[in-house]
């Protein structure tokens, strides 16, 4: 609680001062020091304070998976953890997986398999799929379906999503043999 700041607001109304403190987060290999209230979720810290809007807010209750990011290589719902509790962790968002000029294999596979319609769930799907690959537990289609069940797609692009993830999982398995 070292500083007190007044957040700007769209309606120009003054809000009561919010106690903030500097929180240092390592995101996509870069160090960000952000002034955050203790109740700022990791998701809000990424989007509203670090300017990384690739991670999406869907339900904000851990039910949809749109906010999935990787923390120390493990996929989590960034809406259900506080930014301050992730100090010291290595956070990877969709911006850290690939770029416009060099797509991540999962991004290319999602394009190749038409694995989205509106695209809102896609960053979460891709981060989740990378987490699934890191875990190394899912190989068959049924296993991938089960271990991707934390990511909901309201457009119903599941057939393409499954095909895209399967392709990258298979390539990974083949490269290990």
């Amino acid at each position: 609680m070292s500083t007190v700041s007044t957040p700007s607001s769209a309606d120009g109304q003054l809000r009561p001062p919010v106690p903030t403190a500097p929180v240092t987060l390592r995101i996509n290999g870069e160090t960000h020091t952000l002034d955050l209230a203790p109740w700022t979720s990791l998701l809000d810290a990424l989007r509203e304070y670090a300017g990384l809007t690739g991670t999406k807010k869907g339900c904000d209750h851990g039910q949809c998976g749109a906010c999935t990011v990787l923390v120390d290589g493990k996929r989590i719902n960034s809406c259900l953890t506080l930014a301050v509790l992730q100090e010291g962790a290595d956070i990877t968002t969709i911006e850290g997986l690939g770029s416009e000029h060099q797509l991540h294999p999962l991004q290319q596979a999602f394009i190749d398999h038409d694995a989205f319609q509106c695209g809102y769930c896609t960053p979460g799907q891709i981060c989740s799929a990378q987490g699934l690959i890191n875990e190394g537990k899912a190989h068959s289609e049924d296993e991938i379906r089960e271990l991707m069940s934390g990511n909901i797609c309201r457009c119903g692009a599941y057939v393409g999503i499954l095909a895209a993830v399967k392709e990258v999982v298979d390539a990974k398995t083949a490269s290990k043999q």
């Binding site: 609680m1 919010v18 106690p19 209230a37 203790p38 109740w39 979720s41 904000d60 209750h61 851990g62 998976g65 999935t68 493990k74 996929r75 989590i76 719902n77 259900l80 953890t81 506080l82 301050v84 509790l85 989740s128 987490g131 699934l132 875990e135 537990k137 049924d142 296993e143 379906r145 089960e146 271990l147 069940s149 934390g150 990511n151």
Partner: protein
Amino acid sequence: MKPFTLTRAESVEAAVRDFTGYQEAAFIGGGTNILDLMKENVAEPTHLIGLNKLPLNKIEATADGGLRLGATATNADTAWNPEVQQRYPLLSQAILAGASPQLRNMATNGGNLMQRTRCYYFYDTATPCNKREPGSGCAAIGGYNRIHAILGASDKCIATHPSDMCVALAALEAVVHVRSKDGERQIKFEDFHRLPGDEPQRDNTLEPGELIVALELPKQGFAKNFSYLKLRDRQSYAFALVSVAVGLELEGSTIKTARLALGGVAHKPWRDQDAEALLEGQPATEETFKKAADKVLKGAKGQGINDFKIELAKRAIVRALKQAAAGEHKAADIFTNSNP
């Protein structure tokens, strides 16, 4: 969400000491349930004590041949732990039947026990709820109660405990190790969660400021003959309507030891030791299983919309006992039988 202060505890001693300094303190492990409840203003702590720096995330053998699961070890790390998978596959499969991979990567073992009911009315602050606001009434009684209790409910509360992991822990006779500023004590799993009675606001028998530090599994893991059967409205990522944890020890075709616990049916994981006694010494046949199922559901009471759960639970018990007796599930199976 209401404003709060937060500290990250560096030791168990500091965590339990910190708790006493605030009017409404709460521990936060993975945060997957308490943060959700805080966003809905169902939980309104004024101070949070972060536990994720504590050295409580180990899974290690105990002197008497059991296994000690650290309270801050994640559900995922526990379910995929080789010792848990090989010796306690019932627990591994129950954990993997719950939530999603992302949630299991954050949720802790202690937090799994502490999670609160998913009763819609408990979550909806516009409705009365004796668990959320004692004395205000129960909107689930006479309301939409598809997911609610059929056993052990009271006229104050018909909520269910939502955990899968805890159903397996009940069947395995786990012991909960807790710490407070006054020292450490152990709670038998069956004594940890409570029935609603006149105090549905109390989910368990912990005293304020007591912190779960570990769960201890006894030696017997029922790795050969077990089943965790979960029935739900969709195939994955949904809470149980009814779930059944079974562990059997067989001598030939005779049941030597039986453990039987149900999820989704009561305010606590519902273990029935009378039904277990009825199974023991009997042949592992459908007739025996049906008798045990009838015994478990003898005092069941539906709430209208959830009446179907009584018959569903009976059939689930018989099926789970059959699967366990046949040794259908293998310790190496990574997933539960997803097509019940």
